[in-house]
């Protein structure tokens, strides 16, 4: 088990696409680290560069104490689960799981024993003689995990391992994977474009955008205090309200309403600066009565989220969204007021958190 450190890692593909741009990242030993970002931001590239399947154009990769930048994938002592699992179709589950040991020249009996042990741990005991083609998606995923576990590598790299599962199985697999990683304690880098997955599973996470890391932190930090408007708009199951405004003395003028300066930005926005005011719909208190410092407008849409409702207000020519608990949802066309929580609202200047 080992820490992973990337220093100024750059990857330029032939043809000039800069998929990674001087990336710095340190993942301590044993951490479950999620890489999150929109499609094409370079997540897979980053993972493949750590694994050695892509050669870095610049910078270095350090695993444990070793600089592995110039090493072949097989010499880096990492194990990877591919997005498509890449189980060998001509081998049964036992041989698939035992394959890494076969490469290490472990005797047949010993490696089959190890495969049986790991397989049993992942609930694959009754499937050991099947070929991958005879397994369901969830079972294939577990075989891929078992194969990685059999390697006893220093670090695990997972490329969207849950993206092929249906919604239900995904939730189960999420819990399962997190528990497994806890037990094994192996440093794990986990790529996903599903933010709920990252928030739910990771010890820490990085949000990427076009080859750059835009924020690193625990899921709570990233969710509550997005470092910039990109992360703010990317994270959260309902998108954050991001409204243009101007500082006016000790209040902010946002969307034609006067709102209080959030706690986090108190005394840090000089009069007259242009800002972006950010607050999550979950951190709004909705009421039908006017309130000081609230956004007032007409209810345009009410969406059912299950246990709550997402209410969209037309405030002047912008929209403001608020989450309203079950039972108190307004009707479309009503007048409504959404009061942001001062301790949760955020102020961005030039795209960065104040």
């Amino acid at each position: 088990m080992a820490a992973i450190e990337l220093r100024g890692l750059t990857k330029v593909y032939p043809g000039g696409v800069k998929a990674l741009d001087a990336l710095d990242l340190a993942i301590p030993d044993g951490e479950f680290f999620a890489l999150l970002g929109p499609s094409g931001c370079g997540k897979t590239t980053l993972l493949r560069t750590i694994a050695g399947l892509e050669t870095a154009s610049g910078g270095s990769v350090v695993i444990g104490e070793r600089d592995v930048t110039a090493l072949q994938p097989g010499a880096r002592d990492v194990a990877m689960v591919f997005q498509d699992y890449a189980l060998f179709p001509h081998m049964d589950v036992t041989d698939n799981i035992a394959y890494p040991l076969r490469i290490k020249k472990v005797a047949k009996a010993a490696r089959h024993e190890k495969a049986a042990e790991v397989g049993a741990r992942l609930g694959l005991d009754h499937l050991m003689d099947r070929r991958p083609g005879q397994l369901s998606g969830g079972q294939q995923q577990r075989v891929a995990l078992a194969r990685v576990m059999a390697t006893q590598a220093q670090a695990y790299l997972f490329d969207e391992p849950l993206s092929n599962l249906d919604a239900r199985l995904r939730l189960e697999a999420r819990t399962f994977l997190k528990k497994l990683q806890r037990e094994l304690g192996v440093t794990t880098v986990f790529v996903t474009h599903d933010q709920a997955e990252a928030l739910a599973m990771a010890d820490r996470m990085a949000v990427m955008e076009s080859g750059h890391i835009r924020q690193i932190g625990t899921p709570a930090e990233v969710f509550q205090r997005p470092a910039n408007t990109f992360v703010a708009s990317f994270i959260g199951s309902t998108p954050m309200n991001l409204l243009d405004g101007v500082a006016r003395g000790d209040t902010l003028e946002v969307a034609g309403c006067k709102v209080a300066v959030p706690v986090s930005a108190e005394g840090r926005v000089p009069d007259g600066t242009a800002i972006v005011y950010g607050v999550r719909p979950e951190y709004m208190t909705y009421s039908a009565e006017p309130a000081d410092g609230a956004f007032g407008g007409k209810v345009a849409i009410v969406e059912n989220l299950g246990a709550s409702h997402l209410v969209t207000l037309d405030v002047g020519d912008v929209i403001v969204q608020a989450v309203v608990p079950e039972g108190s949802e307004p009707l479309v066309g009503d007048d409504g007021y959404a009061l942001p929580r001062r301790d949760r609202a955020l102020v961005y200047r030039d795209g960065e958190l104040v």
Partner: protein, 272 residues
Amino acid sequence: MTRFVLGRIGFYTLVAVLLAFFSIPLLWLVTAPFTSDPTYEVKVPDFTLDNFRAVLEHPYALPSLWNSVVLSVGSAVLVVVMAALAAYALSRVRLPGRDALLYALLLLSSIITGTAAMVPLFQLAVELNLIDSQLGLILILTGGLLPAAIFMLKDFMDSTPKSYEESARVFGASPLQIVRHVVVPLVRPGLATIAVWAVANVWGNFLMPYLLLSDVEKQPAAVITYTLYTEGGQANLSMLSTFGLLYSIPVVLMYLFVSKKYGFRFHGGIKR
């Protein structure tokens, strides 16, 4: 309507004629060996085995079939091994001018075993002391078959996903291990196709062994067939038909065996 019916009748008549045209020689091939004193007609055989006895007694007939086996299996093994390695490399490594190289090879290959190169090939074989040697013949035949084999196999390799190999690479497999453990099993149907194709090609090749092997004990069946005359200088139909039947059976058996064994492909393991 009538035009349609007439058209159909015409079409089926044509098909029937074509079918007869192609099936009569085949019928002749299975009946003539069992007929005493066969002619060019297809007759109901009298089920004699004398013709087979005559072939068995012929000093070169059976050994020539063995020679055919040696030549075709030898060439097929060489072609499959070399084409697999070359096709894998060409499929996975980006080389400038790779496709041009492949097409050039393909073009040249039709020359190598074609009549145009006969004289230089003959001289080359003489210089290398490979004249009248089965090994020399195998090498030349292999050379002629390789480009097309590489071309076909590269197509197979191109269509197998890379992540199988990458996965093996991350586990530390060497390139040769990857080929043995992953690539070869995945393209096995392709390899079987190439092997059958190579065997059939060499089995039926007359010109090259005729030119390069003068020792009758080394000659394959295709060449020996050419020597089956009666004392009067007439084609010996009873020998020819019997030997022809024996000559074609192994190839048919091979097709059946291979299509039964490899006529399937592996699926799964890659989630699409």
